[in-house]
């Protein structure tokens, strides 16, 4: 591959990966830290492109990188913006407060497993926990969200 091929490859990778990674890290660490961590994780991906480009599913791996780098952004709070009713009419305005009630591990597990639909094994590697624990965190996190939003516990 020529340098320009690599650059095109990476740009394509970012286009496909960034939204998912951003959702996952923002979900886990809040809007501000999540975006910082996403930026760092993608920078890491570029710096280690040879290795990252070989991965079947790099989102989980880069989530871990972002999680690690998030330690550099020790902000005073996990911040989720309020829901603007006109822009997001289908989103319950209680959702930000509900997210804050979850532990970081629960938020991360819910987002990676249910929103990004990563396999349990990938989520476990990303979070450094067993598959059983992934299921536990995700289930409890989702149950808390349902309860906070007044959604019945029915699939």
């Amino acid at each position: 591959l020529t340098p320009s091929d690599v650059e095109r490859e990476f740009a394509s990778f970012v286009e496909g990966t960034e939204p998912r990674l951003l959702r996952a890290l923002v979900g886990a660490f809040g809007s501000e830290v999540g975006r910082e961590a996403t930026s760092d994780a993608l920078a890491y991906a570029w710096e280690h492109w040879g290795r990252v480009s070989e991965m079947d599913n790099p989102v989980g791996y880069l989530f871990r990188v972002g999680q690690s780098r998030s330690r550099s952004y020790r902000r005073e709070r996990v911040w989720f913006p309020e829901v603007p009713p006109h822009d997001l009419p289908d989103v319950d305005p209680r959702l930000p407060a509900a997210l804050r009630q979850l532990s970081r591990m629960q938020r991360a597990a819910v987002v990676l497993l249910f929103v990004e639909e990563l396999p349990e094994r990938e989520v476990g590697v990303a979070l450094g926990i067993s598959r059983a624990t992934v299921r536990k965190h995700a289930a409890r996190g989702l149950a808390k969200l349902r309860k906070a939003l007044g959604v019945s516990n029915v699939e």
Binding site: E15, V26, E47, L88, I129, L142
Partner: protein, 517 residues
């Protein structure tokens, strides 16, 4: 239905990914990140440029009144520090030497007269007055950092603030007004990526008392040099922010490495070089070639470690670290605070961290009090609640304005955070409701010439292990401890092979937290 919840969550996270604290950004979600990428250097600028093409975001988002970017007419960047003002690497000499050195290197003042506080302890914090013909006296505070070096912790009245820019991108730096100045040079130390940028503030900026910078990177320290109409230094202010984690090892610090090892330095996990008196030096039991030590985390969790006594694991000292939090009294966000601990006197520590003035005192509920220290009149810098537990000093940072605590919230932190020095000399903290430990960060750093061993209390998969750069990281078989070794290759391999974590005893709070989660 759960699908409704997930669908809402996906929609909401897409929205939240593009939000800033101060205002909704009209630009694409990645705009702020891309600006930061441009500042990472030429390699990443290539990637950022590609991203601009990929998502169509305008790249140049400098605010309208941003300081002038570094140009040929600007001076070389000063060695501004993190958690210290200048120089980051330390200055060899006493209080008068570093004051003269700062006057010469930062201000261009030669042959100044310096007068240090005669009542100050020579090996402690010292205020020194710099006298220069035609300029008002300038006071600087220096502290020793070992190895015959000192650093400046404050220059002049300081009073810098850092907050979000009104432009939605970057940061706004508040600087004190100096009536006789026509312009100013700002030396700004950014944390990630690590660099010092030099910008010029115009007369208009000075009148407004603020300068915008495009970067969102955390700022570690600032030196402002005020200039008259001839471009000569009138006075200076300097302050620092933090703590943000581990500052880089001082330049020139030596680490003993095995022959052929790959690199001679790496960031020290504890933030201190081995042997620094601010670390704790535990008593290690050695029996028939086996060394053992019980390490205590701040929450009272303990780990019993064993290793061959010929492996130097902790001769350089250890330091615990954690984070605590409470919900704000309005219930709208968590108040997370670093628990920065070290051996020594808390007044000296607060002074060294740029907060030498006791401005309030809160009852601790046990007949004592907790001091609240500030950087001085109108200081916009960090403030600290200060605790002394035997030979351990603990600072809980605070600051005015957004994210800072109210009077009532500070009273709660004073009343509900307690600690004791154990018989072994280690520190155990007790947090009462509504304070809680943040178990994402429950850490002990062990220092030795070969490297840093970091123990993180955390739930993890016993099969987890990875290695990168100078670091080996793995989960202990108990599933309750992540071990990280950073150092030279021989050290990493020996620690991985020979360190035996005999018994891990998580605290009740850690256990309850796991149960709740």
């Amino acid at each position: 239905m759960s699908n409704d919840v997930i669908s809402q969550l996906r929609t909401y996270l897409d929205f939240a990914s593009g939000e800033s604290v101060e205002e909704t950004m009209a630009a694409a979600p990645s705009a702020k990140a891309l600006v930061r990428w441009y500042q990472r250097g030429p390699v990443l600028a290539v990637a950022a440029g590609l991203l601009v093409l990929a998502v169509g975001v305008p790249a140049l988002l400098l605010s309208s009144n941003a300081g002038t970017p570094l140009g040929s007419e600007l001076p070389e960047p000063l060695d501004v520090g993190v958690e210290r003002v200048w120089p980051d690497a330390g200055f060899v000499g006493g209080p008068d030497d570093i004051a003269s050195g700062f006057a010469e290197q930062a201000l261009g003042w030669m042959n100044v007269e310096t007068v240090s506080d005669p009542d100050a302890t020579p090996d402690g914090p010292v205020w020194t007055t710099i006298r220069h013909a035609g300029s008002p006296d300038l006071e600087v505070l220096s502290v020793p950092i070992g190895d015959g070096r000192r650093v400046l912790m404050q220059v002049g009245s300081s009073g810098h603030t850092v907050g979000p820019s009104d432009e939605g991108v970057g940061q706004r730096i508040g600087i004190p007004r100096v009536p006789t100045a026509e312009s100013a040079i700002l030396h700004i130390r950014f944390i990630e990526p690590d660099r010092v940028e030099v910008i010029r503030a115009s007369a208009s900026d000075l009148e407004q008392g603020q300068v915008d910078v495009a970067s969102d990177s955390l700022i570690g320290g600032i030196v402002v040099v005020y200039l008259d109409e001839r471009g000569e230094a009138v006075t200076s202010t300097g302050g620092h922010f933090g703590p943000f984690g581990s500052p880089p090892a001082p330049e020139g610090s030596s680490t003993t490495l095995a022959e052929g090892s790959e690199q001679a330095s790496w960031p020290r996990g504890s933030g201190f070089e081995p042997g620094d008196p601010r670390l704790f030096f535990p008593t290690i039991v050695v029996d028939e070639g086996l060394a053992t030590l019980e390490v205590l985390f701040l929450d009272g969790s303990s780990v019993e470690m064993a290793w061959p006594s010929d492996l130097d694991l902790v001769s350089g000292g250890l330091r615990p670290y954690s984070v605590a939090y409470m919900m704000s009294l309005q219930g709208d966000h968590g108040i997370f605070r670093d628990l920065t601990v070290e051996r020594g006197d808390v007044v000296e520590m607060a002074t060294r961290m740029g907060a030498p003035n006791l401005v309030a005192s809160y009852p601790d509920g046990r007949g004592g009090s907790v001091g609240y220290w500030s950087g001085g009149q109108d200081s916009g810098g960090v403030r600290h609640l200060s605790y002394q537990f035997g030979g351990w000093a603990l600072l809980v940072p605070d600051w005015p304005g957004a994210g800072g605590m109210s009077e009532e919230e500070r009273e709660i932190w004073a009343m509900h955070l307690h600690g004791e020095e154990t018989e072994d000399g280690l520190l155990r903290l007790t947090l009462d409701q509504p304070l809680r430990f943040d178990y994402d960060w429950m850490t002990v750093y062990l220092e030795s010439p070969g490297g840093t061993v970091t123990l993180d209390l955390a739930e993890c998969s016993p099969t987890y292990e990875e290695a990168f750069e100078q670091t080996q990281i793995w989960c202990d078989e108990s599933g309750h401890l992540i071990v990280q070794v950073t150092g030279d290759k021989d050290f990493r391999e020996r620690v991985r092979a020979d360190l035996d974590l005999v018994a891990i005893d998580p605290s009740d709070e850690f256990g309850m937290r796991e149960e709740e989660s």
